[in-house]
Symmetry: C2
Subunit: 296 residues, 2 copies
């Protein structure tokens, strides 16, 4: 059995409705499968606009149960093309209880598992704490036909703890559906620092844990529905890194793109033999990682 | 009081004896102080060759107590130039008990504190587990005239846990004396991946924790004393990164170099306000970070 796995990332702009976005995803997954991809990663909240630019109770209408209409359609898509599909949905769990949830479909269309975003951001333009209850399923990888997937979502990408916990649970790669972009008012140098920091952080997780990282980001301009904010320019730049953090593929920052890459799942074993970081962790001295801060 | 701090990193090759290396360090610290540096970082085990390429009990003769002859000389140096000096010594604590220890001298020459390397590597060319007992002082920053320093050493640089614990204890920057290089037999592409991974990992710590990172590495070729191994080509590339992981200065990979950079200690506050990662850590869900592995 070959250790090479072709993966595809669907970097896209919002196409105005769940119907239009799902139709586009169906087109892209078909293209990915035709190109030999066996794993397809979608961007965060791919069914619609990134609605967290404002706080409006009407936005909860976007949420749906899991399983529900979107998972039915995505399950059929995964099955039709025999691909493992990593999606990102606004989950309605109960009245007043919603999550930002990644749903993984196995190559036979079955729901292989779900991950509820654990770290929830909240800052101007990204007011997620209003909408999403922090996940309560922990950091658990999801087993699929292409391997054990460490699926995390967006803000999680800044937390080495999340990546490490997935690796310790045997994840063979990390996958991040994400939606991150610039405040168009920021100066160019600051925008570049932010974008580069975002890439660095995730490539760093690849290095620290000796496994591939796939990150699929949204692209395009979305305005603030209130008309008061500057809107967001999503910076695309979806990428795939290998287990030494090396870039295997990287998308542009302006256009929608189907990004393909081949990852070598056997390479992690080699990399971890020359750099056996897991061997030397000082678990006797890490207790304070469970504290908020170590000073008063 | 200005928040700008000029720092200097002394990237050097082994000059054959502790006497010659310390004389060179005295020269470099004088140059750094003359250039306005108030903090000087030396490379790992700067007093001599990187002796861990082989296992030989005679190498323990290099070790010395702390305080001891080297700390006396380095204390005088720090005091003479009124700089905070971060050094790296082979500590003899007792018969059969040795550590790889960073000693920090305050600008008045006093020993401000010490850090005993917590993560100890052991792989071909870097057989440190023979020489160094893992540190027992934990991850505690050291207070100095230029701020609270999170001093770590070499192999620690691969562990996000170490960086995080220093940040949680209020460290204002991370500093790594290090000695890392290539196996000259490795192919060029592999050498580049390793070097880039090393930079990525540490820049990733800057991003995750919103603080500057200073890393000072050895340079030059050192042969295997047994004549059996390929030797090590230390890759230099010492660097200073800001709190978004942005590179502020980076040395070459072949020559000795006094690397200067200005870091803005107030910048971390701004960066952590726009990206408040510490706010959202899921300390309720990090318990398994204290386990060796989460599978059987």
């Amino acid at each position: 059995m070959s250790s090479s796995l072709r993966v595809a990332l669907v970097q896209d702009r919002d196409r105005g409705s769940a119907h239009a976005n799902l139709a586009r995803i169906e087109e892209r997954v078909a293209q990915a499968a035709a190109a030999g991809a066996r794993l397809v990663l979608l961007q965060e909240l791919h069914n619609g606009a990134y609605f967290c630019q404002h706080q409006d109770v009407r936005e909860f209408e976007r949420a749906e149960p899991i399983p529900g209409p979107s998972t039915e359609r995505l399950a059929a898509l995964a099955q039709a093309h025999a691909v493992v599909l990593v999606s990102s949905l606004f989950e309605r769990r109960a009245a007043g209880l919603y999550h930002n949830t990644a749903v993984v479909f196995d190559a036979d269309g079955r729901i292989a598992g779900r991950y509820r975003k654990m770290h929830i951001p909240d800052d101007p333009g990204f007011m997620e704490k209003f909408y999403f209850t922090p996940g309560d399923l922990g950091f658990e990888p999801i087993d699929t036909a292409v391997g054990r997937l460490g699926v995390l979502v967006c803000w999680d990408q800044w937390y080495p703890e999340a990546a490490r916990l997935m690796a310790l649970a045997g994840a063979e790669m990390l996958l991040y559906p994400t939606a991150i972009g610039w405040d168009p008012r920021d100066e160019h140098a600051e925008q570049r620092r932010q974008q580069e920091a975002w890439v660095l952080s995730q490539r760093g997780h690849a290095v620290a844990n000796g496994l591939p990282v796939l990150s699929c980001n949204r692209v395009g301009d979305e305005s603030d529905p209130t008309g008061h904010g500057p809107g967001i320019r999503f910076w695309g730049t979806s990428f795939v890194a290998g287990p030494q953090g090396e870039l295997l593929a990287r998308a542009g920052e302006v256009d929608d793109e189907l990004l393909l890459a081949d990852i070598d799942l056997a390479r992690s074993e080699d990399v971890r033999r020359i750099w056996p970081f897991l061997r030397d962790r000082r678990i006797d001295a890490y207790g304070d990682l469970l504290r908020r801060f170590r000073s008063p």
